[in-house]
């Protein structure tokens, strides 16, 4: 018997093949009755674990960010006071320039929209970081 380009029509021509095919198809495999339920439960648990792991990771990142930022500030103040002073000056200059720019544009709506957008995004990011998992 050649098994090239075999289809069931070829199998059906041979008595032994017919017997084999019927006998194997008649066999039913015992499966625990509650297997599907247990599998569904396991998948749900795996999903929950995944969400939990994501939240924990977010919190760890936020915490790590705060710690690194704090260390950087302390480190800068201790070892690079001139840079910090310059930075302070830079910030003040930027704020002054920004105020001047705003005055120049005469309270342009476009700028308001941009600032509102940035502020909104910052608030959203902060809230999402804190309580985002409760919303999802």
């Amino acid at each position: 018997m050649l098994f090239e380009s075999i289809s069931m029509s070829v199998i059906k021509k041979d008595k032994f093949n017919i017997m084999l095919s019927h006998a194997l198809q008649e066999h039913s495999e015992p499966v625990p009755a509650d297997f599907t339920d247990r599998m569904s439960r396991r998948i749900r648990e795996a999903e929950e674990q995944k969400v939990l792991a994501r939240v924990v990771m977010q919190e760890r990142l936020a915490l790590a960010g705060c710690i690194v930022l704090g260390i950087m500030i302390v480190f800068s103040v201790a070892f690079f006071p001139s840079v910090v002073a310059n930075f302070k000056e830079l910030v003040e200059t930027s704020i002054r320039q920004a105020t001047q720019t705003i005055n120049t544009i005469q309270y342009g709506l476009y700028l308001y929209a941009v600032f509102t957008g940035i502020f909104g995004f910052a608030v959203y990011g902060f809230v999402d970081l804190l309580v985002g998992d409760r919303w999802r």
Partner: protein, 186 residues
């Protein structure tokens, strides 16, 4: 139910499945669990181990279902995963060589029963199944896929990760051996 309605329902079910819907996946498990258990048993995984391997298989299927593109039938895709999980399991437990070995001892016991028994259809099916169970597991796998699941040689080759010629050899040898084993039955 008409064919069109069933086709639409199947399509919708598949879409839900691919979207990661839990209910759709529960139906998927329900539909294919017997097939997965059968594959594990055919590979010689022990009764008390089968459920673990089947669970691992369905977990892998759940994780991988989004990557299913429909090139192969869903059942063929799942057979492939189950077969690989089974091979991994046997490899880890150091029983990979059983895939190539025939179990001779039990065969002798069974032959005595065959001679004296008057066979009904169901009994014949059981005896054929027993005989298949005694084949080297790779031959048994090819036989089950070909005769029971009606898969093509090409599909079997894909599932078992061997060439089509190897599958043909498995089928040829298995058929010949089964003819010898079942000489009293047929």
């Amino acid at each position: 139910m008409s064919g069109d309605v069933r086709k639409k329902q199947n399509k919708r079910w598949l879409e839900e499945l691919l979207a990661g819907d839990h209910e759709a996946f529960a139906r998927f498990v329900d539909k294919y669990k017997e097939m997965v258990f059968l594959c594990c048993r055919t590979m010689g995984i022990r009764d008390y181990e089968i459920e673990d391997v089947a669970s691992e298989t369905f977990m892998a299927a759940y994780k991988g279902i989004r990557r299913y593109r429909g090139q192969a039938e869903l059942s063929t895709w799942l057979w492939t995963i189950t077969y690989r999980k089974g091979i991994d399991y046997l490899r880890k437990s150091g029983r990979e060589n059983q895939l190539f070995v025939e179990q001779d001892e039990k065969l002798a016991e069974r032959r005595n029963v065959q001679v004296s028994a008057e066979l009904e259809n169901k009994e014949q099916a059981d005896i054929v199944w027993e005989a298949v169970g005694r084949l080297p597991k790779l031959w048994a796998m090819a036989t089950v896929l070909f005769y029971r699941e009606e898969k093509k040689v090409k599909e079997i080759a894909k599932i078992m990760r061997v060439s089509q010629n190897t599958v043909k050899t498995y089928l040829f040898r298995s058929r010949k051996r089964l003819q010898e084993l079942l000489a009293d039955v047929v």
